[in-house]
Amino acid sequence: MNDKRIEDMLRKSWSPEPPEGMRDRVLRGSRQKNGDGCRRFQFTLTWRGALVGLGLVLVFVANTSDGTTQSRLTEMTHAGPTSSCALVAQSPLTLGQWRRGVDELLSRSGSGEFGMKGVDMP
């Protein structure tokens, strides 16, 4: 009994066919799972869009408020009579410098330099 004969016998003896209805089941199953995948993908896509939008809004708000703060500081710098205000607006200060600046302002307000002579500070 040579190899070819055994192969032929095997072919004739065993040739399983896919069960009836398997085509529909397999294709339906893969379509459903693919559909789930698509929906998941759409969901992710929607949320990703929303997050990007939210991020843009936050950046815009941050920039706007930053700009407003900056312009207020600039206004204060130009309107302020003292050089210490200009110093406050223009350069980043340490806590100690801030405190000295505030003390200086308080002492000036106390001495009536801002037209508040006689008004006691609490």
Binding site: M1, E7, K12, S15, L27
Partner: protein, 187 residues
């Protein structure tokens, strides 16, 4: 020849693979071209029609999800056989069926021949002998006998060396011969 036509069809579908309807056609094409071979391959490894169907379900669902990765239609056949193999062995491992002999083939497999009682008996003996081989030998036999793959192609599909694959084939054939001749002598 059919593979070449199928590859051409699939290739044309692959180009428009973002089209949902084309993708359904793509899966149907794949199924119609390869399902019978893949089912037989999965069945040879798992020895269960139910498990073989589960394997195909899993593989086709995977293709539906990952079809955008299937760039080369020519490689689809190899991809499918490898996917079926992996999934089949995974089921075998899960169910611990590897060494358990079931007589399912004798009940489920279709009688192809024939009126003569001898041929029927021989066919039954052959199926039982085939079912009794280790899965590694069964899969090599199926790829060689039914898919007419070369040892080199089989080696690539199962991820072993050509020598290993060739010796699995030789052992399998020798075992079948021994059982069949033993049965003939007994009768």
């Amino acid at each position: 020849m059919r593979d070449v036509q199928a590859a051409a069809t699939i290739k044309s579908v692959c180009i428009v693979r973002d089209d949902e309807r084309a993708c359904e056609g793509f899966l149907e094409d794949l199924y119609d071209t390869y399902a019978r071979s893949l089912f037989r391959y999965a069945y040879a490894i798992t020895r269960s029609a139910e498990d073989a169907e589960d394997v195909l379900q899993e593989v086709f669902a995977k293709i539906a999800r990952e079809r955008r990765r299937l760039i080369s239609p020519e490689a689809i056949k190899a991809y499918l056989f490898t996917a079926v193999r992996n999934s089949s062995y995974s089921i075998l491992r899960t169910k611990h069926r590897r060494d358990r002999f079931t007589d399912e083939w004798a009940n489920e497999a279709k009688w192809i021949d024939d009126d003569a009682a001898d041929a029927v008996i021989q066919s039954h003996v052959m199926r039982s002998a085939f079912a009794g081989l280790p899965p590694e030998q069964r899969e090599v036999l199926v790829l060689k006998v039914y898919e007419e793959m070369s040892f080199k192609e089989i080696a690539e599909a199962v991820g072993s060396s050509i020598n290993t694959v060739a010796s699995r084939y030789r052992y399998a054939i020798a075992k079948l011969r021994e059982i069949l001749q033993g049965d003939t002598h007994e009768r």
